[in-house]
Subunit: 140 residues, 4 copies
Amino acid sequence: MTDFVDRPVITHAGARRALDGAIAEADSLGTPVVIVITDAAGNTVTMARMDGAPLFSIEVAEKKGWTAAASGARTCDLRDVFNADPTLLHALAPKVDDLMAVGGATPIIVDGATAGAVAVSGATEEQDQQIADAGAQCLA
Amino acid sequence: MTDFVDRPVITHAGARRALDGAIAEADSLGTPVVIVITDAAGNTVTMARMDGAPLFSIEVAEKKGWTAAASGARTCDLRDVFNADPTLLHALAPKVDDLMAVGGATPIIVDGATAGAVAVSGATEEQDQQIADAGAQCLA
Amino acid sequence: MTDFVDRPVITHAGARRALDGAIAEADSLGTPVVIVITDAAGNTVTMARMDGAPLFSIEVAEKKGWTAAASGARTCDLRDVFNADPTLLHALAPKVDDLMAVGGATPIIVDGATAGAVAVSGATEEQDQQIADAGAQCLA
Amino acid sequence: MTDFVDRPVITHAGARRALDGAIAEADSLGTPVVIVITDAAGNTVTMARMDGAPLFSIEVAEKKGWTAAASGARTCDLRDVFNADPTLLHALAPKVDDLMAVGGATPIIVDGATAGAVAVSGATEEQDQQIADAGAQCLA
């Protein structure tokens, strides 16, 4: 029977734990951000807009989250690929609706498969990525 | 000084309290749902997709939340208006992008002004409304 | 550890089996159709446009498939809900981008959870639903 | 009689053969990908998302497929044109909605006319192109 395989699916409790881990990291940096936790398909499980985080970060964090979940890669690494290959950036990125290859999102990997993503927007790109990494590591 | 007035703005901590109150109500009903807490402009502050809640409820809860915040009315009451006047429904509802006049969202009213909304999707319309009311009452 | 729960995820082999079961049912009815097999998030795993199936059925089948996966319900049953409640139809359905509550799609249920959907377009609504049911039953 | 001419139109059976040839090539490379087989108009006839292929590849493969069918060129060759002329890339590519000039798609040519395309996403650009070429050659 190979019609189905069992895969780990992130629970709301797990997503809340990653969210709170990311909030703690943002607090320690003193940078209010929007944090989105997605499932493997890039759909939001939970999110937080911290007091003072910019409004545009809702949409940015959602799209970074989809990008990390749908690619299985940290978005800072996707950005490096596009930095090195501008033709690829301009030929591909605008054509995929929710693709946002900007640092700040980290896939949640369980047993070698992507089970979700932590995505952050509102601070510097490096800080966003650091906060996302911290959130994802809560579930490692 | 009349250029500005102070208004109560919902914090992330307040939104989390309303969210957890709504989750507790949904748990007591045994119905997994999506819950969205918005600010006065209908933008999400925090949200939760409980384990087993249907996926389409993300979009539905977001739009019910905007509707309650942007109107200051419970969406079950807006639905009653449209039930009684189908011409109004067809003439108006499609023209306001995020207007979803279906039961399940409650404005958060502070000192007579709308400060946000609690919006719910995934159970029956009556249960969604009951859960949203419970969440909003946590902040009363 | 409740951060993750194991859930059955449909494989390409399983999706191909459901696809071929649906094609056989369509052949027995003599009605060429488009058949889409989705995962639990409504994303396509495999699809077939049979010779002579109408072109518009690609988009229709994709959206019926998302609808069945995102709701966990047969789309003919969702249609019945809307048949009985026109206010709900007009207030809700146009506001959810990919929601198409028209007969022809069946969720794939495993251990009580939605693991995907079989969606069909191109014949009558009743035939589409019959073909979708036949495809889903291949995996039961 | 010049109102109509006979043209070879790809059947579902032909598309399935190209699909399975491409899957076999991807298996031999050990790289799960999304494969889309289109007709001469760039509309999908059949597709497969192999187990482990990234989710974003659905949209990418569909657009590469349209590009190869609508141009009659391998998308790696279109990419070379844009690599050599960035102004052309920026002036033209964003204006054609589904144009994605990134390696990985091969037109299916019959008697000198384009009858469809094989499009691939999920591996390296070179591997995607190799898999697409292999699929198209099944029909040569």
